[in-house]
């Protein structure tokens, strides 16, 4: 069981590193927003694995809150980025 969780978290960490690479490389602001959105999903997935490890349901509202926050943030940033790129 522990081995499985280690492998799972390792894969999620690798995915997070790749996503951060895209976040840094860009090239446009929209690529960065897409990468940030994926990173939020990865955080939710990692927290879900944590919940599965400790079989502790008290962190589940956190999952819902982070998922909601990620959606609102990405949607707002997408609208702002469109305006900025257009006026450039």
């Amino acid at each position: 069981m522990t081995v499985v969780f280690t492998i799972t978290l390792g894969m999620l960490c690798a995915a997070g590193a790749l996503t951060l690479a895209r976040l840094l490389l860009g090239p446009s602001a929209l690529d960065r927003i897409a990468a940030a959105d994926v990173f939020v999903i990865l955080i939710v997935a990692g927290t879900a694995v944590y919940v599965a490890v400790y079989r502790d349901g008290s962190n589940i509202p956190l999952l819902a809150a982070v998922a909601l926050l990620g959606f609102v943030g990405s949607a707002t940033a997408a609208r702002l980025a469109e305006r900025r790129e257009r006026h450039r």
Binding site: T8, L12, A21, S28, I41, V44, E85
Partner: protein, 123 residues
């Protein structure tokens, strides 16, 4: 029964994490924004759903119900974000036209193929 659930949960968690990893790999490797959006939405959503399912198998029923809510929310919002980003990319000219295969929106916007009375407000 518990052993079966544990094995199933492990398999789901591993598959979900692998799907997330493949999606992140696509996000880095793909050449332009629309294909990156494919990698950013579909494998990530599938991976998250698998992980949530695997987590739910290890919890009580009332905790697992909230996980269903989280999964549903992700399924609903991922296409919205993808659509918003794609639209922003098209309208602001970030999109690379040379790698596009089909461009239906361009014909509509320029009025060549007049999309059956395209609304001027939408131009």
């Amino acid at each position: 029964m518990t052993a079966v659930l544990t094995v199933l949960s492990c398999a789901l968690l591993l598959t979900g994490a692998a799907s997330c990893l493949l999606g992140a790999l696509g996000l880095v490797r793909f050449p332009d924004l629309p294909s990156r959006l494919q990698a950013a939405t579909k494998p990530q959503t599938l991976g998250l759903l698998l992980i949530l399912f695997g987590t739910g198998l290890r919890l009580d029923l009332d905790d697992a119900a909230t996980l269903v809510l989280v999964g549903l929310f992700q399924v609903l919002t991922a296409p919205v974000i993808s659509q918003l980003l794609g639209r922003s990319a098209y309208r602001s000219g970030v999109l690379r036209r040379d790698v596009l295969v089909v461009d239906d929106l361009g014909a509509r916007l320029s009025g060549d193929d007049d999309g059956a009375g395209t609304d001027r407000r939408n131009r």
